[in-house]
Each structure stands twice: as C-alpha cells, then as structure tokens.
Symmetry: C2
Subunit: 428 residues, 2 copies
C-alpha cells in the first residue's frame, strides 16, 4: 500500500469513503477501529444538513446552524483520517482513487458523493437559475433575493415586478418548503423591511410538471400542501413545464410567460459523475447500479451508498427515494457488512425500513405520511420540527436551531437577513 503523508500503514483493511453526507457520515461513524483504517474525503470541512438548507436561503437560520465541522465529529477517533480534497476518478486496476491531494489506495472504496441539480440539458436555465444543494448555494440565494429587493427600491414599475417576483420550479419537498418560507417572508418580514415597496405586486409561483405536488407522498399530502400554499398566496401551477429562462422572462410550455429575476430550480437531480467505472454501471439519472449489499455492479470491492446509488428491488423498481433515511440506513448496513466480510460471514441484504415522509409548508402547517396513516396541520408540523431538530449533528446546533425557531415563532421575525458578500483572494 503506497503511503499518504501522515497516514500510517497498518495491517488493517483500509476503507476509503468519498463524500460525507448522510450516508458517508453514518458509515464512518459506525466503522470500528478494531477492524478498519478509514480515510474520509470531502470537498468541504463540514457535514451539511440538507433538509434545512431552504431555511438558510430564506434568512431563517444561519449557515453554521446546519453545518457541522467534520474534524470535531472525529476528534477522538484515531483510525479515521479526514482530508479536504476533490475526488477526481477511480483507478480500479490500481485499487486507488485520484484526488486533488494525490492518489489514495483502498481495500474497500465507498462512493457517497450524492447528487447535483439536473437541468435536463438546458444551458440557459443552468446559467440563470439558482439551485440549492449546498450551504454556499443557500447563502447565494439569500443574497440574491435580498439584493433584488434593494434594487427594486430604485426601479421603475415593470422592472420592479420582475425584481420582486420569485418562481420556484419543482413541486417536491424542496420546492414546497421554499415556496412556503418565501410566502411567510412576504407576509411577515418584507413589508416591514421595505415599507416603500408595494407587496401586492409580488407573486410567488410554484411550477410543477406533474399533476400534483409532493409526488412521492400520499394524495392527501399533495392536496393539503397545495391548499396550504394557495391559502398563503402562492400561485401553484401543476402540469406546467418551464421551457426557457433568460434571467428575466420565464417561458412556460403553454406559451405564456412570467417575469422574475429569481428562478429557484428544484425540478430535478442527477448523480454526481464518477470517472473510472464501467459505462454499464450507470442507471437512471446517472445513479450507480448496486446490488443488495450496495456493491457496485461488476466490481469486487467498490460500494455506493445514498442518493448516488440505485438498488432495484421488487418493492422499489426505481430504486429508493433519494432522501436522508435510505442513505443513513445504507451507511449503517454497509458498516455491518464490511465487518462481516472481514470475518467471512454471510452478508445481509439491505432492506429499507420506511419511517414515513414529512414536508412543512409554514407556521403550524405540514403534511406527514407515516406507516399508520397520513395527517396534516399543526401536529404534523410539530412532528416535523421534532424530527429535524433531533436529526441535526451536535448539541449546540440543536440548541441554536431550537432557540431560533422559538424566537421566530413568537416574534414572527427572521433575524438573519444579512447580505454577507463573498471575498476571494483574487478579488478582494
């Protein structure tokens, strides 16, 4: 095994995990020092809690509240070596991966790099739309929205409408939650911050190609979420596809258009590309085809877990839903199977234990599909709050999010409407 600076050669099997989202994090935390040396790489030095990105984008939470430094998580685990690095490719012949800090050999490789936005080949939408897969995206959306309201103050009427309008594309949980949060900003915050603007002119659109919102949830959840959003003044357009966008005019498939300088794209995802795998390894949406133990098809020691993997089964002919729970469960299961592999015990196929789905629309309003039934409203919202709070990494993050949510709830305020501009060494 070639050596990497400051990572000792040991007799233990080395597991290299690429990507520390829900799947990679769960796996890393579950691999014991007795059996493995673990090398983790990620382009960020923190784990981000994606389900709450939309609250960062809408000024409800600070970035730090949903990001947790990885070095802190692994401080006392000497067998885990974390490196900030970009993953470039797999070299199967050499059993190593290529990264921005050099090549790293593995005994077992686990790919957990997740997904990125899918613009379905439309270059203009890719160029002008805003998507939200990372904390930095969410900060950028926040800055863009606030900047547009500042600009609207000096704009003439036609321009003003475009600056105030917000179009969200994609009626999945992300789109629904964004639409709800923005509708609440319009109701509770923006008129107080910008008394000089006429908020009757501001429209929030949620465009969905299918005939219902939250397509992965129950019919009841779809109906209730649409009703909630419409009560909050969101214009929900079903069976509507965005054809083109130039940064100002959103062109729809029925030939009509709306003006908006902000188009939030939550309409599709595809797997992050992994170079160095056989071409028949990629399934629908670019996802990597894995067997029941998350082993990549046609390989002996490469695994894929979480959103990037597609495991086709009778119950899930299109793979598992690309959300947190399957990722976490796959990470945990793979840790057990790697241990069994070491001891030459039979491996246990992954079985997804559905815990249900939740989506929130706003204050006191959420929809829930649980194994025993569907419900919506206040108690669904309380459940949503509880589940998300307890899923955050770190007691301090939990405390801060809890205080924030409590203060926002009682004051009808969101205090983080700061446009903190980026600064880079090149352009100070």
């Amino acid at each position: 095994m070639t050596s990497i600076a400051r990572i000792p050669d040991t007799s233990k099997k080395r597991v290299v995990i690429v990507g520390v989202g829900f799947a990679g994090l769960r796996l890393a935390r579950s691999l014991s020092s007795r059996n493995f040396q673990v090398i983790l790489i990620d382009k960020n030095n923190y784990h981000q809690f994606q389900p709450l990105l939309y609250q960062v984008a809408t000024s409800g939470l600070e970035p730090a509240a949903i990001a947790f430094p990885l070095r802190k998580i692994f401080q006392n685990k000497k067998h885990i070596h974390f490196r900030v690095a970009k993953f470039l490719a797999v070299d199967q012949d050499m059993n190593c991966i290529l990264t921005s800090i050099g090549s790293i050999q593995y005994d077992y490789l686990v790919l957990a790099t997740g997904v990125k936005p899918n613009y379905f080949g439309n270059r203009n939408i890719e160029k002008y739309a805003l998507s939200m897969k990372a904390v930095s995206d969410a900060i950028y959306i926040r800055n863009s929205i606030l900047e547009n309201f500042e600009k609207a103050l000096s704009a003439d009427t036609e321009e003003e409408i475009a600056l105030m309008n917000i179009v969200i594309v994609g009626g999945g949980p992300t789109g629904v939650e964004l639409a709800g949060a923005i509708a609440e900003m319009r109701k509770f915050i923006l008129p107080k911050d910008y008394p000089e603007l006429d908020f009757n002119k501001m429209e929030i659109y949620l465009m969905e190609g299918a005939n219902r919102l939250l397509g992965d949830m129950s019919l009841k959840a779809s109906e209730r979420s649409k009703l909630f959003l419409e009560n909050m003044g969101v214009k929900v357009r079903l069976k509507t596809i965005v054809k083109e966008y130039d940064g100002n005019i959103v062109l729809l498939d029925d030939g009509t258009s709306v003006r908006s300088e902000i188009l939030l794209w939550a309409a599709g995802i595809k797997a992050c590309e992994v170079k160095g795998l056989a071409s028949d390894t990629y399934g629908k949406g670019g996802r990597i085809v894995v067997d029941e133990i998350n082993k990549v098809q046609g390989t002996t020691n490469i695994f894929a877990i979480g959103d990037i993997a597609i495991m086709i089964s009778e119950k899930y002919p299109a793979g598992h839903p690309q959300v947190a729970q399957p990722a976490i469960q796959q990470g945990l299961q793979l840790s057990k199977n790697l241990k069994r592999l070491q001891r030459s015990r039979p491996l246990i196929p992954f079985r997804y234990a559905e815990k249900g789905s939740l989506a929130t629309v706003g204050r006191n309003r959420a929809v829930a599909d649980l194994p025993f039934g569907s419900f919506s409203g206040f108690w669904a919202w309380i459940l949503w709050l509880f589940v998300h709070l307890m899923s955050l990494v770190g007691k301090k993050n939990r405390l801060f999010v809890f205080i924030n949510w409590s203060l926002s709830y009682f004051t009808y305020d969101q205090s983080f409407r700061l446009m903190i501009k980026p600064k880079t060494r090149e352009s100070p």
Copy 2:
C-alpha cells in the same frame, strides 16, 4: 430638491448619513422624525460590531452574531430611508452626493465612512497580507487559516512550518486580541482537530514597531498584555518593523525573516477617501478635519463623525482615539446640535467623555484602564465580556453571543471552524 425613487419630498430638512458604523448608527437612531428626514446609505445591509471581528476570524463566533440587519433597526421609523449603495463623491455646489444608485441631495451631509487598512505604500504587503475591517474580511481570514492547516497535512516539513505559522503585525488592541485568540486555538482546538500535525512547530508572532504593546493604553496594560501573551507562547517582538512580504517570507527591518503563509495586518489605518472636499480638508492619516461641532473645515452643512474625523483640541492634539466611544458620542452630540441648528440655538462643542479602555488577551485575561485606575486579569476579563455583550445591537445577538461564550468557556471548544466558501454568479 430632486426626487429619489420612493423617498417623499417633505418640508423637513434632509440629513444624509454615509456609513452606518458606530457613529452613523448612533446619529441615525437619535434624529427625531419631528425635525428631519434621514437618508442612510451603506454598502452593506447590516451594522457590524467591529470589536468582535477577531472572534469571527478565529472561529469563536458566527458572522451573524456580530452583524445586525439595518432594516430591522429602522423598521418603525418612517422618516428614515435606508439604501444599500456605494458612496462615490460629494458635489458641494449642488448639495448632493453621487452614489451607485444615483445622486442624492442633502440639507445636511454627514460623512461616517470610517477607516481602512494602511499599508504605507507597500504594494506587496497590500497584496499578500490579510486585514480585518469587515465581516467578509474576518470570514476570509478564518477560511485562510483553516485551509492552511488542511494543506499542511499533505506538505513536507519546510512548507509545513510556513503553513502553520501565523504572523500578526501591529500591537494595538486588534493585534493583541488576534494573537491571544490564535494562541488559544493552538492550545485547545488545533491539536485535537489535527492530531497528525506537530504543533510544537507552529509559531505565533506579534510584531510591533513601538517599544510597547497597546500604545494608547497605560504602561501597566502594555506590560501585562505582553506577559499574558508570552505565557501563552506568543513571540512578541517589539521595535520590529515588517519591511517586505511575498506571501511566504516575512522580512523584518533587522534583516532576519520568518516563514508564514498568513500575515495578519493590524499595523495601521487611514481614513476612507472622500472625493469632492477641498484638499486642505484632509489631516493626519487622511482624516477629515472638523471643528468642535464636527463640521468639516471650510463647509457650512457637511459634517464628519467617528474614525474618519479628526478634531484637534488641547487635550487631544492628535485627535480622539479611533475607537467606538468617540464615534458613538460624536453621533449623539451631532444629533443634538442638528436639532439646535434647526431651532437657531447655540451649538454645543463636543467633549469626549473617556470611559476607559479594555483589551482581552484570552481566557480569564484582559487589561483595563479605567478613569480611577488600571487593572488586569480575571476581573478585567469579566468587565470586557460584560461591556462587549451589552454593546451588541439586538437582544438576540446578545443571547447568542452569551451562549456561545458560555459554551466555549466550559468546553474549551469553538464550534465554528467551518470553511464556507464564497460563491458568485460569475464563478459558481
């Protein structure tokens, strides 16, 4: 009076305030709606609490904890109109200022744009050193420090020293507080986060040109702060001037050099330039010369307050110290004088009420010069905590900073070591 979009013409006198730091904020909050229409401009949409920037730079606080959205402060003040804009120049003949959103006429103009780093003409230091005058600077310093430790993990020995070393130039409060905070990171945080690095190799230097630290404070404060820092392992070099820096080698005036990829520049400030004033208006350090009521020399309706102004008096022949207290007091005094001006009452000359100086060096360690005497250690530190906590704008910021400080104190931890990278529309 020419009209600006969405700002009504009134019969009231219009006060235009440029810059919402300590001075501009205090003035704006004190001008009553009965007498004035107020237009505030700033390049940011938030007020930043500069005395705690160093804690953002060293991962102790989140940016949002020390930044407060201006629109929230002025939500219920209909006579105050805030605009995010860049100030370009004064046009004295037209009684207007030029900004990035057009020209704005004034009856009274108040310049409160503060200061920026002074590199004394050294282009290389300006290019490679990091300075800290804004929240975005502090985030950039944090990212740079953390990035260097990540890089050090894959570096060979000589490089590693340069990546770990940190040189701070300037022994004023900013330099002393930065040095102390970084020394605490080295002691409590970094060895746990980077067990693979040898922190005996890391040196923290504090370079000061004069023969003592904290030159504006008492001799006792200078001595104690030096002692505190040296006990924490900081190499304090007095009578030492940095001559040159290329991003790696710091060349000193005695011909010796040290290696460091991080040079934090806190060695000098100069006033932000204001175009459109007579050339004899600028005093030492580019500060604008004002009379006893903060009126700019040679003008009738232009004022300057805070760090940018220099008011020479018998007691302060070099002007007031460029810290928060004179700025706040000048803002308050000017609000009273503008009201008196309106009523043709005699104006009251500004008298600085010294409240004392504080600087913190680390856990349980600070120095204090108060009107009745100087002291240092634990109680000075408690006083420092209390004063800074109560000076923050916003109850929520106070609460969050208090919780953070309490948690850090008892856990010896700083949880915000996140490298959240900037993202711009141009380079996503």
